[in-house]
Amino acid sequence: MTVEQEIDEQNDQFPVGMRVLAVDDDPTCLMLLETLLRKCQYHVTTTSQAITALKMLRENRNKFDLVISDVHMPDIDGFKLLELVGLEMDLPVIMLSAYGDTKLVMKGISHGACDYLLKPVRIEELKNIWQHVIRRKKFDAKDQKNSDKAHFESGEVGEGFPGTGDSDKSGKLNRKRKDQNVDEDEERDENGQNIEDPSTQKKPRVVWSVELHRKFVAAVHQLGIDKAVPKRILELMNVDKLSRENVASHLQAQNFFFLPSVAYHKLFSFIRAYYLALWMQKYRLYLKRISCVASQQASMVAALGSSDSTYLRMSSLNGLGDLRPAAGSRQFQNAAFGSFSPSSVIGRLNTPAGLGMRGLSSSGTGQLGFTQNSSNPINDLANFHSVIQTGNQNGNILQGLPLSLGLDQLQHNKVITQIGELNSTANDSMVHPISNGFSDMKINVGSSRNSLLGVPNNAATLQGHLQNNQRAGIFGNHSSVADVSLDSKLSSPLLDFGRCNDNWPSAVQSSEVQSDSFTLRQCFKQATPSDLRGDVSSMAMHIMTNPRDVSSIISVVPDTGTDLPSRAEQVSSNAGQNMDFALKQGWYDPKEDAAHHSNLTCISMNSSIYPDTVVGPYIQRSDARKKNCHTSSHLNVIGQSNCLDHPLVMQHKEVEQSVVETTLKSNQGYLKEQRKPLGNYAYDNVGSLEDVVSAMMKQDFPKSRTRHIKSADAAKPRLQIAFPLSVAGTERHLVFLLS
C-alpha cells in the first residue's frame, strides 16, 4: 500500500489508527502507555530516549500525528523536547508526568504543550487525545489561509491549552484564547515571519487562566482605566513569558467590559448626584406624607430601630429628608455600583459585561457575578465595595434580593413611606433609575428565588450589590443596589437606581422587616440584613423553604396595612426574606390613580422577584397592575419592569413559576409589561429619568391594596422603587415613592 493510501485509511477512521509516538524513560510506564494506546486503537511507536524520538520525528515528520512525552527524562528535558517538536515539526505534544503542580503545568503550556496528563494515565484520557490533532490541523489550515493577516477567527484553542484537556476549561478559555491566538498571529505577522510555516516560529502561548486574568484586572485597576496601557499592565503583572502583545490583545477583549464601565461610571456618578438631590427633595415631601400613617410608621420605626444596620438608623429618622445622603449616597453608590455592575444585567443579563467592572474580573465567570467569586478583580476595579461582593455572591444577591424585598417591606413601614416620600420627591428621575436598577435586581432576585438560586445573573448582580453593602442589611443592600445601578453602565436607569439606593438605604433600614412597612405604600423591601447578609443562597433557600412565610407576607400585602404587621412578623421570621417587596407590591394598590404611573415600583419588581414573598398579594395586583399599574405610586412594578431588562422579564417568568405564589406570577406578568417599556426607555436615555419614570408610571401598576398607601396619598402618582438589596446575601428592596 502506498503511503497515501495508508494515510487515507487512517484519516477515514480517525481517530482509529492515529499514529502516536510515546517517549518515556520509565519502562513500566512506557509499556503501560503502549498497551493503553493500543487499546484505544492508535498506532503506537515507543522509545525511551528523547534523542531517538527526535531522530524518528526528523526522519519523517508525517509519520506521526501526536507525540506523548514524559516531562522528566535523563537525556533531554521533556520541555526541551516539546519545544523542539513544536518548532520543527509542529506536532501536537502531550506532556506526561507524575507531578501535576501548577508550575509544571504552566511550564508545559508555555512551551507549547497541547495537554498535560498525570500519571497514572487512564485510558479515558487517552481516548480523547486525538482532539489535539484535529485542533492542530485546523489551526494550521487556517493559519495558512490567513497568511496575510493575523486574524484567527475560529475560537479554537490551538496549542498551549493548559490543564488536562478538560473540555469545559477549554470552552471557558476559548474566548480568551481566541484573543491570544489572534495576538499570536499578529505577533507572527509583526515579526515578519513566514506565516506559511508557523511551526518555524516560536509561539509563546499564553493562556489567560483565571489567575492571570485576575492579575491583569488587578493591574488595570491599579493603574486606573485611563492609564491602563499594555506596557504598564505588563509591568504590574510581572508574569514571565507574557508579552506586551499578549496583554494588549487581552485588553482589547476586555474593552467590552472596560470601556462601557468607564464611560458609564463617570456618567452615572454625575447623574446620580443630580438625582440624589432630586430624590432627597422628594423624599422629604414623602416623609411628611408618610407621617400620617402613624401606626405603621411607628411599627416601622420599631422595626427600624431593631435593625442593626446603619441603614436602619438612617431610615429611622423621621425627618429623613436628609437621608443622610452622605452615608446613603455612599452606600448607595457603593451599592449601586457595586451591585450594579451586575445590573448590566439590565442590558445584558447574563453577561459579564453586565457586571461592569465586575465583568472584568468575572469575565471568566461570565456571569453577572452570580455565581462567580471572581469578584476579586472587580473589587479592585469597582469603587463600590458592594459590587464586588455582589459579584462574588451573585447568587447571594439574587437570593438576597427577594428576601430583602419581602422583609423590607414588612419591616419598614416607615421606611417605605419615607422612601415613598423620597421617591416622590425624587420624582421620575429618581425612581426611574432606581427602579430600573431594582427591577433588574429584583427581577433577578425574583427569578433567583424562583429558580431556587438558579437565577440568573440579575439576581446575582443585585445580590452582589446588596451584599457589598453589607450595611445593616437593608441599607447596605440598598446602597449596594443603588451603587449597582449606578455602576451599571448599562443605562440610565441604573443611575436612578443608584440614586434610589441612596434613598433606599434609609428607607430600607427602616423596613427591616416589619410587616408594617408593607402597609406603607412604599414597597420598601429591605433585605433583612442579618439574613440577607448571610449567604444569599441560604437566603434564597430560606425563602424558598418558607413559602408559608412568603405567602403570609404576600397576603399581607393585599391588606393595606394592618395585615402587614402580622405578616411582617412572619416574614421577618424568614431569613432575610424580603417580604417587603411583596408587601410593597401589595401596598401599592393598582387602583390608585394612574397618576402613579410615574411610580416606579421596584416593589412590583421585587415581588416578581420574590415569588414567595410577594407573590400572594402581588399577583393579584399584578393583574390589576397590568392594566393600570401606575395607579398607585407604590409598587411600580412596572417601573421596575421597565427598568428591567429583557432577561429580567424572563427571569420574572421564572419567578412566576415559583412555587409559592400565583400572585407573583401576576406580578411578573405585570413586571414584564412594565419592564419592557421602561427598560427600553431606560436604556435609551440615561438622563431622562423623568421620562422613564413616567413611562413606568404609565404601565400597569399593580394595585396594591395597601390602604395605607392609599390614604397616604392616593392621588399622587408615586414612583416606588423597591430595591432588593442583598447585603451579604440579604435582599432588600428599596421602594421609592416618588410623587
Binding site: 513500566t28 487499546k39 522528566h72 497514572p120
Partner: protein
C-alpha cells in the same frame, strides 16, 4: 478435585486481592491493568509488574547508594529517582509505595537527610511487602490456570 482446586485458588486469589486493596497496598489502577490483559496480551499484568520490579530495585539501589554516601548532597538526583519511582508505582497501582515516595520526596526537597533515610527505609519495606504479595498473587494465578486447564479436559 483439580477443578475444586481451581475454584479454591481463585477464591484465594480474590481474597488476597481484597486484602491488598483493603490495606491500601493496591488501588484501582491495578484493576485497570488486569482489564488490559486479554487475549492479545495474556500476560500483560505479570510482564508489567516484572518490569516494575526490576526498575524499582534499580532505583532503590541507587537511592541507597546516594543516601549512604557520606558526602551525599545531590538531593536533586534523588528527586529524579523518586520521580520515576513514583510514576511507575502509580502506574502499577502501588498506592502505598507511591505515598511513601511522596513523603520521601518532600524530605529530599527539604534536604532533610535523616528524613530521607527514614523514607528510604519505609520505601524498601513497602516495596518488599508489595513484591511478596504480588508474587504470591501471580503464583496463585499460575496454579489456578493450571488447575483450570486440567479441569476442562476432565469434564470433556
Amino acid at each position: 478435585m483439580l477443578g475444586l482446586g481451581a475454584e479454591r485458588l481463585r477464591a484465594d486469589m480474590n481474597r488476597l486481592l481484597a486484602l491488598l486493596f483493603h490495606q491500601g497496598v493496591l488501588d484501582e489502577q491495578f484493576l485497570q491493568l488486569q482489564q488490559l490483559q486479554d487475549a492479545t496480551s495474556p500476560n500483560f499484568v505479570s510482564e508489567v509488574v516484572n518490569i516494575y520490579f526490576n526498575e524499582s530495585e534499580k532505583l532503590l539501589r541507587n537511592l541507597r547508594g546516594l543516601l549512604l554516601d557520606r558526602e551525599f548532597s545531590d538531593y536533586k538526583k534523588m528527586g529524579i529517582h523518586l520521580n520515576q519511582f513514583m510514576g511507575s508505582s502509580s502506574s502499577i497501582g502501588a498506592k502505598r509505595v507511591r505515598n511513601v515516595c511522596v513523603a520521601f520526596r518532600a524530605a529530599s526537597e527539604q534536604n532533610n537527610r535523616p528524613g530521607c533515610l527514614r523514607g528510604l527505609e519505609l520505601l524498601e519495606h513497602e516495596y518488599c511487602y508489595l513484591k511478596n504479595k504480588l508474587h504470591e498473587l501471580f503464583h496463585l494465578e499460575q496454579q489456578r490456570l493450571l488447575a483450570a486447564g486440567v479441569r476442562y479436559p476432565m469434564q470433556n
